[in-house]
Symmetry: C2
Subunit: 425 residues, 2 copies
C-alpha cells in the first residue's frame, strides 16, 4: 500500500461522456485544472481534481510521498493502439530503396516488404525476437506510451504466428507497459501460398484462428484488406471466424485504394478501421453510424510521403478519431507518440485537445482498454506524463524532442527524461 | 594524452573538395568505409579510414581505450548553424494562438512575437537567461549537435545585446559544445523606436556594433531583412558597418516576401542567407555565383505550416545548402537536428547524403568552422555520433526518436542515449 500525492499540476485529461448509443459512444470532454492534484493509491487514481478539493480531509499520515509538478502540465500516458512492434530487425536498406522511388506494393510483390520481415521472424531465435520487441516497447515507453497494442503478422504460418503472440505476451509480462495483442495472420499472403490466397484464408480460418484462440490471449483479429492482399469477401470470412472465437475485429482499410474495407468494418461492427487514406464519405458515415473508431496513422503517411488522412472531415461526419504510430519496419519505423501528436496538429489541423483525446482516451477505446486507461479518472490506472511545458500544446510546439519531464505507469516513475538528458558524461 | 581507437564502424562523412573558386567552394564528396576505424588523440582525429589501414603499424601500447561500434554507422556530430537558443522562456501560449490562426507578422505588430521575448530577456536575471540557454544547448547536444551558432537579438538595446552575447559566450565555456555567437541587434525594431526604424539603425551602427566589437567575440552580424522589419538599404548599412568591425554577414532573407535579401547577400558577399522561402531564381543564382551558402530551416516551415524551401532547385542552381533548426521560441522551438534531417529527406526530397552534408560540413561552412568541425578528417575535432543503425538513412527512417547510440565531442563520450533509454526506474 503506497500513497502518492502529485501537486501543483496543470491537469488536462479527456473524460468519457456517459451516453451509450453507438453514435455517441466516442464522445468526450476535456477536464482542466489550473492547480490540480492527483492522489494515487497502489497504482490507481484515488482522487483527482482541483488541489484544494483533493487535499480536503487528507492528513499527512495518509500520504507516503508528495511530488510537486511545479506547474507543469499533466496528461494521461499515451495509448498506442496500432503497432507491429514485434519483428526481428528493421528494414533500413529497403527504406533507402523506397526513398529512391520503388513503390511499396512493388516491393511486396518482389518478396520484400512484409515478406522479408516474415523470413527474418521465422529464421530468428526467440532471444532475437524478444530483444528487438523489447527495444521497440521500451523506446515507446520512454516517449510516453504506457499502453500499447502489438499485432502478429510476420509469422504467416500457425506455429510462427503463435510464437509471435507468445513473444508479445511475454514482453507484456516483462515490461511495465500494458500490452494488448492482436492476431494478424492476414497481414500478407506468404510465399508458400503465392497465387492461392483462398488456400491461405482456409488455413487462417480452419487452423490458425482455433489455435490462437486456444493458446493465446489475443482480444482482436486484424486483416490487411487491400487490392493484391485480402479482398473484402476474404476479410469478412476471416473476421467472422475470429469473432466466433471471441476475437473482436480490426481492419487495415483503404490505405492505398478505396476497396470497401471501411464499409466492411461498419457492416460487421469492427472495433476500429485503420489508415483510411482513400475512404469515401459514404463509408466513413457508415463507420460513424456503426460506432467504428477511425485509427489514423500520420507517421505512416509522412514516411510514405503521402497526404495524411482527412481527420477534420471524419470528425465532421461524427467519427471517433484515434491516433497511432503504426510502428513497423516498413512504412513507419517510429515509436514516438509525441511525433504523431505533432503531425496531427501541424499537418492534419487537429486541435490540441482533439489530438490529446485521440492519443489517449480514443486510442484506449480502439483497443477496449478505456475502462482502465486513457483518461485520468477515479479508479483508473495512474498512468500519466508530466510534460516539460504548461499545456499539451508543448507536444506540437517542441517537435522532434519529446518534451516529457517524467513518465508514471501505475504510479511508478518510469523515467525522468529531463534528468537523464542532463546526465552528460 | 589519451588515445582512443573506434573500430568496426560504418563511417559516412562528407569531405571537402579542394577547389578554391567561389562557385565551387561548397563542393564535397562522401567518404564511406564499410568497416572503418578512427584513431583519436587528445580529442583530434589522428587517423581515419578502412580499419586495416588505420591499424597498420599501430601497437596496443599506443591505444588507451578501444571501442567497438559493432557495425553501427558513424557520422560527424551535427553543426547547427542558425539558432536563437538564448532566450529566457518559451512562448507556448503564443504558439497556441498561432494554431488558432493569428498570423505571425500581426502578432509582431501587436508587441508579441520577438518583442515579447525582448521584454522577458530584459526583465530576467542572468541566472534565468543562463539556465534557459543552457537547457536548450544541452538538449541540442543530446540530440547530436556538437557545434552550434547562437544569435543575440532579444535585447535590442546596447546593454542587453551585449549581455546576451556574454551569456552565449559563458555557455560556450561551461558546456562541451563549440559555440559561435552572432550579433543580431537587427532582429526587430524595439518598442521604443516604433515608427523610427532609421533611428534604431543609427543606434545599431553608431553604438551597438562598436560596443559589440570591443566587448564580445562575435564573428558574425545578422539582419532580419523583411517587409515591416528592416529594408534592404537598412540591412546593407548595418552589415557593411559590422563588416568594418570585423563581423562577417548573414541575412534572414525572403522568409515571407521576396524583398531582395538574397540579392543583398550576394552583393555584399555574405557568408550565408537563411530561410529563402520566397526568393526568385535570379537572386538564388546570384547567391550561388557569390558563394553565399543557403541555410534552410525546414522545422520553421513545418511549424508555420508552410511548404519548405526548394532545396532541389537551389542545388540545381549550384548553391551550397546547409540545414539548421532555427531553434527559437516563436517559429521553431525544436533543438533536434535529427528532426531537421528527417524533414529534409522526407519533405524536401534531399537525398540522405545531401542531408548529411547539409547538417555537418555545409553547416560548418556557414559559420566558418569547417577547418575544425563538420567532417571527419585528419586533425579535425573528433566530434561524431554513433547511430543506432547501419546508414545515415536511419535519421529519416526513425523520425521522432533520435536514433543515436552515442555522442562524442572531442573524443569524449557525452551521452550514451540508448543506455539511458534503458535506465527505467
Amino acid at each position: 500500500m503506497t500513497t502518492k500525492l502529485f501537486r501543483n499540476a496543470r491537469i488536462n485529461t479527456p473524460v468519457s461522456n456517459s451516453s451509450r448509443t453507438a453514435e455517441k459512444k466516442g464522445s468526450y470532454s476535456i477536464s482542466f485544472w489550473e492547480c490540480g492534484a492527483v492522489l494515487v493509491k497502489n497504482g490507481l487514481i484515488e482522487r483527482i481534481g482541483d488541489e484544494t478539493e483533493v487535499l480536503k480531509g487528507l492528513s499527512h499520515k495518509q500520504v507516503d510521498q508528495e511530488i510537486t509538478c511545479e506547474g507543469r502540465c499533466l496528461v494521461p500516458g499515451f495509448v498506442d493502439p496500432h503497432t507491429h512492434m514485434c519483428f526481428s530487425s528493421p528494414r533500413e536498406a529497403e527504406f533507402s530503396k523506397r526513398l529512391a522511388g520503388t513503390p511499396y506494393l512493388e516491393m511486396l510483390k518482389a518478396g520484400g516488404g512484409i515478406l522479408s520481415s516474415v523470413r527474418s521472424v521465422r529464421e530468428s531465435t526467440d532471444e532475437v525476437l524478444l530483444g528487438a520487441t523489447r527495444k521497440n516497447v521500451m523506446t515507446a515507453l520512454l516517449h510516453g506510451t504506457t499502453t500499447v497494442e502489438i499485432k502478429s503478422g510476420y509469422g504467416l504460418d500457425t506455429k510462427s504466428e503463435i510464437r509471435m503472440l507468445k513473444v508479445i505476451e511475454q514482453i507484456g509480462r516483462e515490461t511495465p507497459l500494458d500490452i494488448v495483442s492482436t492476431f494478424m495472420g492476414a497481414h500478407a499472403v506468404p510465399m508458400e501460398y503465392k497465387g492461392d490466397s483462398d488456400g491461405y484464408v482456409d488455413l487462417i480460418v480452419n487452423e490458425m484462428i482455433p489455435a490462437v484462440s486456444r493458446e493465446c490471449g489475443s482480444a482482436f483479429c486484424d486483416v490487411f484488406c487491400e487490392e493484391g492482399v485480402f479482398s473484402v469477401p476474404q476479410s469478412r470470412r476471416i473476421l467472422l471466424a475470429a469473432k466466433e472465437h471471441g476475437m473482436a475485429s480490426k481492419i487495415h482499410a483503404d490505405e492505398v485504394n478505396d476497396t470497401g474495407g471501411a464499409a466492411l468494418a461498419a457492416e460487421i461492427g469492427a472495433v476500429s478501421a485503420e489508415h483510411l487514406l482513400a475512404t469515401n464519405d459514404t463509408n466513413l458515415a457508415a463507420m460513424a453510424k456503426a460506432g467504428v473508431i477511425a485509427v489514423l496513422l500520420p507517421a505512416t503517411a509522412y514516411s510514405l510521403r503521402k497526404p495524411p488522412a482527412n481527420a477534420r472531415r471524419m470528425m465532421e461526419l461524427g467519427l471517433t478519431v484515434a491516433l497511432s504510430t503504426d510502428c513497423n519496419p516498413g512504412s513507419s519505423f517510429t515509436q514516438s507518440m509525441p511525433f504523431v501528436f505533432s503531425l496531427a496538429v501541424m499537418n492534419m489541423m487537429m486541435t490540441v485537445n482533439e489530438a490529446l483525446a485521440a492519443c489517449t482516451l480514443n486510442a484506449a477505446r480502439a483497443i477496449r482498454m478505456d475502462s482502465i486507461v486513457g483518461s485520468l479518472e477515479k479508479r483508473k490506472y495512474a498512468d500519466f506524463l508530466i510534460l516539460d511545458g504548461e499545456t499539451p500544446a508543448i507536444l506540437a510546439y517542441q517537435t522532434g524532442v519529446p518534451p516529457i519531464y517524467s513518465i508514471f505507469k501505475r504510479g511508478e516513475c518510469m523515467a525522468d527524461c529531463f534528468q537523464e538528458r542532463r546526465t552528460v558524461r
